[in-house]
C-alpha cells in the first residue's frame, strides 16, 4: 500500500467515509424529521440521500449505495434534476430508512479501523 500513493490516499478517504457514515445517517434522520412540502427541506433530504448513494459506490460500500439509491428513487421518482417529493411514499420511509441504517452498520462493522483517524 505504501508503494502506491494513490491507493493510500483513496484508502484514507474510504476510512473517512465509513467513519462519517453514522453522522450522515443521523443528518438524514434529522432532515427527514423536518421534511415538509417546501423546496428547501425536500432538496436537503435529496442532497443527503443522493450523496450517500454516490459516496457509497465511490468508497466501496455497495450496500449503502444500493439502499440509499432505493430510497432516493422511491422519494424522488422524477430523478436527478427534480427534487419533487412524492408524499405517497411517507408510509414506506421507515422501512427504507431501516434498510439504509442496517447497511451502514454493516459497513462500519466490516471496517473496524475506520474509526481511527
Amino acid at each position: 500500500m505504501a508503494d502506491d500513493p494513490l491507493a493510500a490516499k483513496i484508502a484514507v478517504l474510504q476510512r473517512a467515509f465509513v467513519a462519517q457514515l453514522p453522522e450522515r445517517i443521523r443528518a438524514l434522520d434529522e432532515a427527514l424529521a423536518k421534511l415538509g412540502q417546501d423546496e428547501e427541506t425536500v432538496k436537503a433530504v435529496h442532497v443527503i440521500v443522493h450523496s450517500l448513494a454516490g459516496a457509497g459506490a465511490t468508497f466501496g460500500c455497495p450496500e449503502v449505495s444500493a439502499a440509499a439509491r432505493e430510497m432516493e428513487q422511491a422519494m424522488f421518482p422524477g430523478g436527478l434534476g427534480h427534487s419533487k417529493f412524492d408524499p405517497a411514499v411517507h408510509a414506506r420511509l421507515p422501512v427504507l430508512m431501516a434498510a439504509l441504517k442496517a447497511a451502514a452498520q454493516r459497513a462500519v462493522a466490516e471496517n473496524p479501523e475506520s474509526g481511527q483517524p
Binding site: 494513490l6 478517504l13 473517512a16 442532497v47 454516490g54 459516496a55 465511490t58 436527478l80 434534476g81
Partner: protein
C-alpha cells in the same frame, strides 16, 4: 506526474461531497491534470468564467442550481466556444441523463469512477477537443481572411469608381478639342489628319461608353439595394419608349407578356439589367429577318422571373458562363460594337438582388435571358397597391 500522451488539461470539478471530490481530485492529479474545484452550481459558473477550464466534470445533484441547470447556463455563457461537460452520476440514474445531455452536457461517467475509465474518458474528450480546436482555428483564420478580403474588395471598388470617374474629365477634353480641331482647322489638315482625328474621336467615344459601363457596374457593386413595389409592365413600357427610335429604325417589334405585374425589386438594378438585355437583343439581331423581342414575367417557386427573348444570332452554350464575365466578348468589336460589360452588369444586378441570371440559346436560333430573384426580398414592405406612376 504526467501520463504519456495525455496533455495537461485544466479540469473544473463540480462536486458538493468533500470526500467524493477529494477522491476524484486524487485520480485526476494522478493522471497529471490540473484541477479547479467548485462545490455548487453558482460557484461552478463563477469558476468557469474566471478559470477558463478545458473540461468540466459535473455532479448532477448540487445545492442550489442542479448540474443540468448549471450546464445550461455555462453553455449559454460559452456561446460557440465548446467546453465539454461530463456528468458524474450513480448507476440507475440514466433516464435523467437524457435531460442532462439535452441541457448541453456531452457525456457521463458512472460512479464509482475508476482510474482506467477516467483516463479513457479524458483521452476520448481530448481527441474531440483537438479536432474542435483545429476547427476553431480554421474558422478564425477563415474569418480573418474573409475580413481582409472584404476590406481589399471595398478598397478596389472605391479605386475603380474613383479612376473611372476621374478619367471622364480628361476624356471630355480630348474629345472636345479633337472635334474643335477638326472643324476650326479643317483646311489646314490633310486627309490623313482628318482620318486620325476621326479615329481619336471614335476612340474617346468608345472609352466614354466603357467608363460609363464601369461606373454603372461599380455603382451596382457599391450601392445599397432599395427594394420597392414595382409594376413590371410599366418598367417594360418605359424601356420600350426609351428604345423606340432604335427599334423603329431596325423595324423591330416588342411583345410585352406579363403574367405577374407586381414585383418587389430595386428599380435601378432591374431597369439596368433589362436595358442591357434589350440593348444586346438589338445589337445581336440576325440579318435578313425582322427582329422580334419578347419581355415576359411570371412568378415561379417563390421567385420573380423576367425574361428577354429575341430571334437574333444567338450564341453557343459552350460560352454561356464566359459571356457573363466582365470584358468577355464572343465577337470582334468591328462586327458587334460594345464594351463587354453589359452582361456583367446584368449578373451583378441580379446578385445584388439576391438572385441570378442565365441564358439559353443556340447559334442562329435567337436567345432567351432570364432574371430571377426571391419574392422574399423586400418582403418587409407592406402589402400595398403599386402606386400609379402617372399620379393618383
Amino acid at each position: 506526474m504526467t501520463v504519456e500522451g495525455l496533455p495537461v488539461l485544466k479540469v473544473l470539478l463540480v462536486e458538493d461531497d468533500p470526500l467524493q471530490s477529494a477522491k476524484t481530485v486524487a485520480l485526476l492529479e494522478h493522471l497529471g491534470q490540473r484541477v479547479v474545484l467548485a462545490c455548487d452550481g453558482a460557484q461552478a459558473i463563477e469558476r468557469f468564467c474566471s478559470e477558463n477550464p478545458d473540461l468540466i466534470l459535473m455532479d448532477v445533484l448540487l445545492p442550489g442550481p442542479n448540474g443540468f441547470e448549471t450546464t445550461r447556463r455555462i453553455k449559454e455563457i460559452a456561446g460557440t466556444h465548446w467546453v465539454p461537460v461530463i456528468y458524474l452520476t450513480v448507476l440507475g440514474s440514466h433516464g435523467n441523463l437524457v435531460e442532462g445531455l439535452l441541457a448541453g452536457g456531452d457525456d457521463y461517467l458512472i460512479k464509482p469512477i475508476g482510474l482506467e475509465i477516467l483516463e479513457a474518458k479524458l483521452r476520448s474528450v481530448l481527441r474531440t477537443l483537438k479536432l474542435y480546436r483545429a476547427l476553431e482555428e480554421s474558422r478564425d483564420n477563415l474569418e480573418s481572411a474573409n475580413a481582409a478580403l472584404q476590406h481589399a474588395n471595398r478598397e478596389l471598388e472605391t479605386f475603380t469608381y474613383a479612376v473611372a470617374h476621374d478619367l471622364k474629365s480628361p476624356l471630355r477634353a480630348i474629345n472636345g478639342y479633337s472635334t474643335l480641331l477638326a472643324s476650326t482647322e479643317s483646311s489646314a489638315l490633310s486627309a490623313d489628319g482628318h482620318e486620325y482625328l476621326r479615329k481619336i474621336v471614335e476612340g474617346t467615344e468608345y472609352m466614354g461608353r466603357l467608363i460609363d459601363d464601369l461606373l454603372e457596374y461599380s455603382r451596382l457593386e457599391r450601392g445599397s439595394m432599395n427594394f420597392e413595389r414595382l409594376d413590371v409592365a410599366r418598367v417594360a413600357e418605359a424601356l420600350h419608349a426609351e428604345f423606340r427610335a432604335e427599334l423603329d429604325q431596325r423595324d423591330a417589334h416588342i411583345t410585352i407578356n406579363i403574367a405577374s405585374r407586381e414585383i418587389t425589386a430595386d428599380r435601378n438594378a432591374l431597369t439596368q439589367a433589362l436595358r442591357n438585355l434589350l440593348s444586346n437583343a438589338l445589337k445581336f439581331a440576325a440579318a435578313g429577318r425582322p427582329l422580334e423581342i419578347e419581355i415576359g414575367s411570371r412568378k415561379e417557386n417563390a421567385c420573380h422571373r423576367l425574361w428577354v427573348r429575341d430571334n437574333g444570332i444567338g450564341f453557343d452554350m459552350r460560352h454561356h458562363d464566359r459571356i457573363f464575365d466582365i470584358f468577355e466578348r464572343l465577337h470582334r468589336s468591328e462586327d458587334y460594337p460594345g464594351t463587354g460589360v453589359g452582361l456583367a452588369i446584368v449578373r451583378k444586378a441580379m446578385q445584388r438582388m439576391g438572385g441570378r441570371s442565365w441564358g439559353s440559346s443556340s447559334p442562329g436560333q435567337g436567345a432567351i435571358f432570364h432574371l430571377e430573384w426571391p419574392e422574399s426580398q423586400g418582403s418587409q414592405l407592406q402589402r400595398t397597391r403599386v402606386p400609379d406612376e402617372n399620379g393618383p
